[in-house]
Symmetry: C3
């Protein structure tokens, strides 16, 4: 495995910002990287103002020097285009390219991401700086990967965005009749009689049109993708042999359909920062890794950013206790990541993220975190042999558009789509079932398919689900799945319109309450298994419907029953113990608990070389990777 | 009873938006309406963009067709002027007519109500579309009622509004000295030396002037009323025999003095959506109905909108369980409503309110809700005979201006005026006492008068209260009543300035605390009855003062004691059982509980024809309307 | 003691706004002032619009008359320049001088403080009105003190502010390299290549630069100070013998370094409104008074505003129960205040602060509050003899810049610096230890020095602390102290960078959690005393480090132990009993509890003339001031 270009084995490293440091620190950096086994660093992600301090005047000297040092030190570079943070001069020169909120507030530099990706001046400036980097570093020995931009996800509501949105809508709908129909603009007198009347969702008197909101998200996903593709094509032309990617950020505010984007990258790269403390972080880690692998659909993927320790969350930062950095990394690698990368290499003295953790913390290398980083480097260096895809006979549906549609105001209650999907994944994770994520129109070679709150289902997707069950597949769908079509229009005649027949139920009413979601379900072929759960034999398959919000243990029981029904293999592991099996027989075992646990396994533990016969006892907090007997 | 024009018996129906549906649905609509007994629908409320898709170009064809169909089907139309939701073309053509928030944000179309009612361009456009409708449909056989606009209540802070506000103030105050005095502008150096210096309340550094806030609300009430009157006069000229109304919306944000507006409508129409679940919804229903009847002061009134099932509330929608739609409708009818109307006839596929409930829900006519709608239609059709006014010998004061004044920042604690008034009404409702609402300067032919937190009392109103008690009336006033004059200026010398003499108390200090409101009360003629409650013999009457926030049972006890004192008849019904008596002897009995209850009654139950002798046993959730023996 | 000019004894009075009242009230005011012993009132604070109702046209007649009346009545005036609230005409004439929020919202008059202190038009207008007042009243017999402006603290983000900010930065940093270095602008590509690229912090996409935020606060402190100094110099020229001050307001939003400003005033004047109810108000009172005395560094200081009763807090107003107004006043006087002043003399009928309490409340002089005001006047009149500085051998560090720096987003958790400092002061207050506040670069003639969360420490300050301990001082530093340099840049190599050596610890990691703050501490010379607390012998002194958030009793125990260690005298008083000793031997004893308590004392109780021998028994809620035997 030599991938990306020139990297031996798994990737290990993080974002490296030498421009923040005097050059005498650089040599120590290289030395510390070598000591830790770092082999890849992302360089230049936020360096635009140092690379082009004055418009059109480049200063590549420092980047030349650091790339040379890295090359000498045997560390490869994921060289970034710095377009996620335009310099202060850009704001002054092109005020019309600054982003505008829905309420009309124009944002200024002083943070990052202060641009509108629909603004011609911004696009031009991006092409120029990306082109200059491509030209200068095309043949540099350190260059292993192009890292375009950072965490695309910034929407804008300005007039440039309005123009681009109209263009996208014209292409999508062809004529205004189709758009008016899709948005049900007859409601509240919103019928459009000219394209110029259409704007991004902006501050308005009361609830906005949900169709407009949904399409604005879709538009931005495509608009940002076009910004990426523009840079990618330019880099590709300069360096046809260097892979190109951009790192994904995950969150309800991000108007990016990551599965769709995966077609345009050479490597699916994700940034992953669990927002929960405790075991919740491990649950989220497995969730994120499975999503990334699934988005990649066979392409390589990589954990591009993660936190060695303190992470921002809603209220305050929380810590990654000793051992968790390694176990999280291994959870990603187990699930297919080509390594483990961190934000960031060295903690900065200042800037907004001065307390975001780093492999070399403020305390320096004489620190618990750097010592753990050295250990992790050793562990990763021994795992190059691991190959084979992750074994999963269960799939969970993932649909970015359903997430967006459920965020529109006016739903019977606020449903957090990502939380619903993660709840399904968590239930399976605790049951010891590894899952892929799929789109309904993907091939579905699975024994069990779970649709959590899959709100939008097109006719085509509904037909795919029907065919899947009809031919023997087992399906579990939860409330709100299939209620609306791909434009968010409610399907009539009884919920869940798209799946009534396959689920054998008809729902007359939603009954949201402080206790959670519930529905008035009429059986139409299905039988009730327990309150809120029905089961329907359809063709050669089985379709379960969960119409109420279940607590975690009940949810796990229902999914376990469905998995058994479907013949899915269930690893009998203790709660908090994570086991992932790879084609070819490698087994990753991570004990996230405070107690020792036995794992059924057979082979050689790679890190210790010890033989494992039948059972491996994993101490509290420990991990093992078992190579199968040949 | 043939009212409005051409409607037999009680009105039954709801908002009907055929423009959202293909015409093949229309015939099913008419058929389903007939099956349910619907006889009146509001048409065209949000149809401006379909009626005038391009400025000055009308498309009345579809409206002609649906009105003809309705007429054929025997369903009458409350034909709306669609001015509550200007079309997208309007925003583009008249950006200065878009509304502006206090912080300067100009709102765009994309929702509804995106206009400034002070903008000449908006007023012009309203007159044109209303005029066109009047001209075309003046003689249409379906036309029973004009429904002007929808839920007037949108304020604006733009420069048009500023100009209009200044004009209103000039008229109100005559000169700046009077205004400066009313606003106590000497505080914080706010003295105005020219009219041009006055603006709507806009974003400012710290707490705004409460006098300015109060007058801005009053201004908007009058300004919106003038917008209504303009349309009304134009419609009246075209169809002198068709009654005209506009539907009221209720809420703390609404700058409309509904009692004042009642003088200008032919029918007081209210939209009523309880925000509470459980018995709270029934309490709110009775409250809203009694308000509407009282605002109407003898004119007809009608529940113009209500929800068959799911309703928006603060956090999520909540459901109307089986039976409640009928009982709520009957509570309104019992209290004088000329029928029961709903928003809406058929649930839309999309738009912001796609989950707002409807008589024909997403599930279609084969649904619990439509079946209940059919039942309700049957019930209503049998109630045409009910006549006579609602019997009430108790009145509660209602004063929109006190509501607004108490919303200004800088009060000792936040007092929700509407909640205070509803608490009084709720206590009486639970005690079995039916109440009217009054203004203090109304005639007061009541045995008991309750003033809950009636913050603003003018000299004239104080004199009326004094005369009422002096001549034998019984009064209960609660904290904050009479503390300020009609401009919100605190009356000096001890609280509550306007009522000190009649209440026989003098309050030196307010003592708000986490436990609620309390006061340091000196007795000045009154005697203390219990903590926080005094009683004063004044002239031939009695005046009680409640100086502390009481819990619901204590409040109910105090009001019951005062009612007994005053000789008010108290229905001895179980909690959750609602009994309303009408002049002429009809009795409405609604059992909102889960247990059967006995009601004392005598006559014939109208719906069943069964004789009632002395006692009627009402099963859980049931209702009965008893015709007196002749 | 005749100070300020012409005032006998301690100052007593408050803000007096005769412009809000008809002249017939004025004579009653003077009479009531005399009855209460009032000898000083602040006049004209918010009178600009009455003094200059039209630009350039002054109306001094009413002020002449009231000042004459005051002079006749023997009441002195703190004559204010009214520049804190420009009149409405100012907004119309100079819209560019209205303040602008970070999000671009321009504020309008309608409240107070609607100006940008960087706007030339505002500065010009201030000089004109201040000059006119100085000229007219220079020799007036009532004039005792100039009261410039009111509560400076209003920042602005407009283009005038941007220009001034750039000027300040140029002066502070000399060149852009230094600024880029201080702000670590290399992070997120924020490198500035021209001064014009720098703006106030305005709405931006994500977290702003903490260096920019910190300097923007510092800039505003200096900018507002220059606005003060400009007026002061003009008044000084007119009346060289009249002292000049401005009243400080305290709060996290206030960009004013009060200690720095103290150099420019003749009298440190504070406004003090405890935000807590219960004993918290007494704790805050002592805290505020000790801060003011310490800021004054030997200059006179005065409680310029406080509330007789109701005070605004976060959610609602809360009351000052009987007796507390006097005890709070005495707590200030005990700690050095030259008297006790109130906002305000007479409660207004209207305006935003209509319920802010007053010495003459809405109820008038026949009220609990006015009677207590008369008592207080009598008490204060007997305390002229008290002299001598407050005895304190303990100091707490106070650093406005650390407060501001800790407010920047991106900290590991939100740390409220003022709350941290107050927690230290509260622990000492309860332990009976009186403390001064100091800057680290002040002389440190103390036995014990406490540094609570002193986030920013320059090299110079660190050296001062080191020297203090080395020469025998006792130090207690709490978490986050010394973590960053004066620009907020984190000191590397282990926390707390500036104090590692003196504290004898090295912190590798912060461990914020829902339980509070904690750290991973390595001992480097110190010994652990108890969890979260270490003690280090350094030179001739001792340095304690508190690395975790302790509960109040534990914190008090640790500080008591450190104080004992340091030989600080600890008054053995009951919790809630406040004892302050003055050089010369006067003792103030305040019993804030509901029980009688014994106080060790010797001398004559001044108010009663009773001898005190060994022990004074203080009834619940009582106070005593003991004159030492000569």
């Amino acid at each position: 495995m030599h991938w990306p270009k020139g990297v031996d084995g798994l990737c290990y490293g993080g974002d490296y910002n030498p421009e923040q440091w005097p050059e005498d620190v650089w040599r120590e950096d290289i030395e510390l990287m070598r000591r830790a086994g770092v082999n890849l660093v992302s360089v230049g992600v936020f360096a635009w103002s140092r690379l082009e301090p004055v418009e059109g005047h480049y200063d590549f000297g420092w980047l030349d020097r650091i790339l040379d040092l890295l090359a000498e030190g045997g560390v490869k570079a994921a060289l970034a285009t710095p377009t996620a943070s335009p310099p202060p001069w850009f704001s002054l020169a092109y005020p019309d390219a600054l982003p505008v909120r829905g309420d009309g507030t124009r944002l200024l530099h002083g943070s990052r991401d202060t641009y509108c990706a629909s603004a011609p001046a911004y696009r031009d400036a991006c092409r120029r700086i990306a082109g200059a980097l491509a030209e200068r570093y095309a043949g540099h020995p350190a260059l292993a990967l192009w890292h375009v931009h950072n965490e695309y996800g910034t929407a804008c509501h300005c007039d440039h965005a309005a123009t681009a949105f109209r263009g996208w809508l014209r292409k999508e709908y062809g004529d205004l009749d189709a758009l008016n129909d899709a948005w049900v603009s007859a409601f509240w007198s919103q019928h459009y009689s000219a394209w110029e009347q259409i704007f991004p969702p902006r501050a308005t008197q009361y609830m906005p049109n949900p169709g407009q909101l949904l399409d604005f998200r879709r538009f931005w996903s495509d608009e940002l993708l076009s910004a990426y593709v523009e840079q990618r094509d330019l880099l590709r032309a300069a360096t046809p042999d260097v892979p190109i990617t951009t790192n994904y950020v995950f969150g309800g505010w991000v108007p990016v359909d990551h599965a769709r984007w995966a077609r345009e990258v050479d490597l699916v790269a994700i940034d992953h920062y669990p927002s929960d403390a405790g075991l919740g972080a491990e649950e989220q880690t497995a969730f994120g890794a499975d999503l990334a692998r699934s988005w990649a659909r066979g392409k390589p993927w990589l954990l591009m950013e993660s936190a060695p320790n303190l992470i921002y969350t809603r209220d305050r930062m929380h810590a990654k206790e000793p051992g968790r950095m390694i176990r999280h990394s291994l959870s990603h690698v187990a699930r297919g990541s080509r390594g483990a990368m961190f934000f960031q290499w060295r903690a900065p003295r200042g800037g907004a993220e001065r307390y975001h953790s780093a492999l070399v913390p403020h305390a320096g290398p004489d620190s618990r975190v750097y010592r753990e980083a050295v250990t992790l480097g050793g562990v990763l260096s021994r795992l190059s042999e691991v190959d084979g895809s992750v074994m999963a006979s269960t799939a969970i549906a993932w649909d970015a558009a359903s997430w967006w549609a459920l965020q529109a105001p006016g739903m019977p209650m606020e449903i957090d789509y990502a939380a619903e999907v993660q709840a399904a994944h968590r239930a399976l994770w605790h049951a010891g079932v590894t899952a892929d994520f799929v789109a309904l129109t993907d091939p579905l070679p699975y024994s069990l398919l779970v649709l959590p709150a899959h709100y939008l289902i097109s006719d085509e997707a509904a037909e795919a689900v029907r065919a899947y069950v009809d031919s023997g597949g087992h399906l579990v769908a939860t409330y709100l799945s299939g209620v609306a079509d791909e434009h968010g229009r409610v399907r009539l005649g009884g919920y869940p319109g798209a799946l009534r027949d396959v689920l054998g139920v008809r729902v007359e009413e939603f009954q949201p309450s402080p206790e959670g979601w519930a529905e008035l379900v009429s059986l139409a072929g299905a039988t009730q298994v327990q309150p809120g759960v029905t089961r329907h034999e359809y063709g050669a398959g089985i379709a379960w419907y969960i119409s109420a919000r279940l607590d975690d243990p009940t949810y796990q029981d229902v999914l376990t029953a469905a998995a058994r029904d479907a013949g899915v293999a269930i690893a009998g592991v203790a709660p908090g113990v994570e086991v992932v099996r790879r084609d070819g027989g490698w087994v990753f075992a991570l004990n996230h608990t405070d107690e020792p646990h036995d794992i059924p396994a057979e082979g050689i533990e790679i890190l210790t070389g010890a033989p494992v016969t039948g059972v491996l006892t994993l101490p509290a907090g420990a991990y093992a990777i078992i190579r199968p007997h040949p």
